[in-house]
């Protein structure tokens, strides 16, 4: 087997087809692992993995292809995940509005979050809320990058983040009460 170099970009290769397939073998566990972990559903992760790699193929076949790398693929996967959550939660705007109505000033919340309970709460949130919290906190992206992925302004993203946190906190408390 050749030495594996995750920084090798398809766009720099002479034979894009062979380079793309080679990248596919290296990147598949990374892309699938990211999607499976974040969406918690292997079937959905497989669908989004397919969409991600097909988008990469479309990109390298287009004029002026980007330098497709594992990091580039994970970025695409992140967009696909957000699109999936958007498609799934058409009632999110109502959820957002409802959350806005009850969100007060931010107060420090120094609660020690339980991993399983947090995952359950995230999975139960509306798509926009789940997306912004996942990108900001689970992935650890800066707000500016979250805004780019969500195609919103930084200000709008911060507002969404605030509402999402409020929704998470309420759901977390309810989930805890249900468990008790």
């Amino acid at each position: 087997m050749p030495a594996r170099n995750d920084n090798t970009a398809v766009g720099e290769a002479e034979d894009q087809g062979a380079a793309m397939l080679s990248l596919y073998e290296r990147a598949l566990p990374v892309v699938f692992g990211y999607l499976a972990d974040r969406c918690g559903d292997r079937a959905t992760a497989e669908d989004l993995t397919s969409e991600t790699f097909l988008a990469a193929v479309a990109a390298v076949k287009a004029p002026g292809p980007p330098a497709v790398s594992i990091a580039w693929l994970v970025g695409v996967a992140r967009h696909k995940l957000v699109d999936h959550w958007r498609r799934r939660g058409r009632h999110d705007r109502l959820v957002d509005r409802a959350a806005t109505e009850v969100t007060g000033p931010e107060d420090p919340w120094e609660h020690e979050l339980d991993r399983l309970r947090s995952d359950a709460v995230l999975a139960g949130l509306g798509g926009h809320h789940r997306a912004v919290l996942t990108l900001r906190y689970v992935d650890g992206l800066p707000v500016g990058e979250v805004a780019e992925v969500l195609d919103r302004s930084v200000h709008a993203t911060e507002a969404l983040l605030s509402r999402a946190k409020a929704a998470f906190r309420r759901a977390y408390v309810v989930e805890g009460a249900d468990d008790a």
Partner: protein, 296 residues
């Protein structure tokens, strides 16, 4: 970075690499090949870049041998538990069942001379991989290498763990499966010295072990194969071993089924990433693991 005083900061976690179902991986690869408009010549050239004239599937899990006391009885148990269908093949001294509706073939055999679990990996040039075994500190036990470099070989690695390699030839002799399986090979769990495993399986099978998390002593090798350096994790000597886990849609119903079928359902643990797991045994005492992302 998120505010460190913010409880939400504790949600941060890396996403460890995870191999998908091998059937899905192969299917998506074929789709990409079509989308890329690659010809057979292109694919041959692409495959030749994988070294030793092999393909990128070289070194991936193709089959697992599972030793049991009575192969017919074990097959009945696994058919009822995981929906497996198999071809029954009588040998001179034992019976083997080869599953026909699973992504990774499982050979259930009552050959007492076999090791309890033996993983077999795809390899285009078996002869060259086998030649790399002694150089890496292992031993070839038996070889059916063919003149074109294909065929098969059985070996043990430098830590005494058995494994095999073969060049799949598109065997079409068995009947078509009648139903999809409800349980698949989820994981060949290798307990071994990870540094030595990386040093051995790198030159032999082309593996490059990937630590799943900076704090973890678990490494992914190829899809459905992982190495746990238990000695490093717990600071005491541990004998190398191989265990087979079956992935099922939900753990609790599968455990109930194990009990119904006369097996022993083990305690549920959550010590393998997102998976709930349990170590079980069938109605003859053959050990196997179950893993699922959901309890119910």
């Amino acid at each position: 970075m998120p505010d460190r005083t913010d409880s939400f900061a504790s949600l941060r976690r890396p996403a460890p690499p995870l191999g998908p179902d091998p059937t899905f991986a192969a299917s998506l690869r074929r789709r990409l090949e079509r989308e890329l408009g690659m010809t057979t010549a292109d694919l041959n050239r692409s495959d030749s870049t994988a070294g030793r004239g092999g393909t990128d599937l070289d070194g991936t899990l193709a089959m697992v041998h599972l030793r049991v006391a009575d192969a017919d009885r074990a097959m009945a148990f696994l058919a009822a538990l995981a929906g497996w269908e198999a071809e029954r093949v009588p040998f001179d001294d034992h019976i083997s069942h080869y599953t026909i509706n699973t992504a990774v073939t499982v050979r259930i055999l009552d050959d007492p001379g076999s090791a309890p679990v033996v993983p077999f990996y795809r390899m285009t040039m078996v002869s060259e991989a086998a030649a790399a075994v002694p150089a890496a500190g292992g031993r070839v036990v038996e070889s059916g290498a063919e003149p074109d470099g294909g065929g098969w070989a059985r070996a043990v690695d430098d830590q005494g763990l058995p494994f095999g390699m073969y060049r799949p030839r598109g065997y079409q002799g068995s009947a078509a499966p009648g139903r999809p399986a409800t349980g698949e090979v989820g994981l060949v769990f290798m307990t071994a010295d990870a540094t030595r495993a990386d040093r051995f399986y790198g030159p032999v099978l082309g593996w490059h072990l990937q630590r799943v998390h900076p704090d973890s002593n678990y490494f992914e090798a190829v899809p459905a194969v992982g190495v746990f350096d238990e000695a490093a994790a717990f600071g005491r000597p541990v004998a190398p071993s191989l265990r087979l886990y079956l992935s099922v849609p939900a753990l609790s119903p599968a455990l109930a089924r194990v009990s119904e079928l006369g097996g022993r359902a083990g305690e549920v643990a959550q010590d393998m990433g997102p998976y709930y797991t349990a170590w079980c045994s069938d109605d003859q005492g053959t050990g196997f693991g179950l893993m699922a992302e959901a309890l119910q």
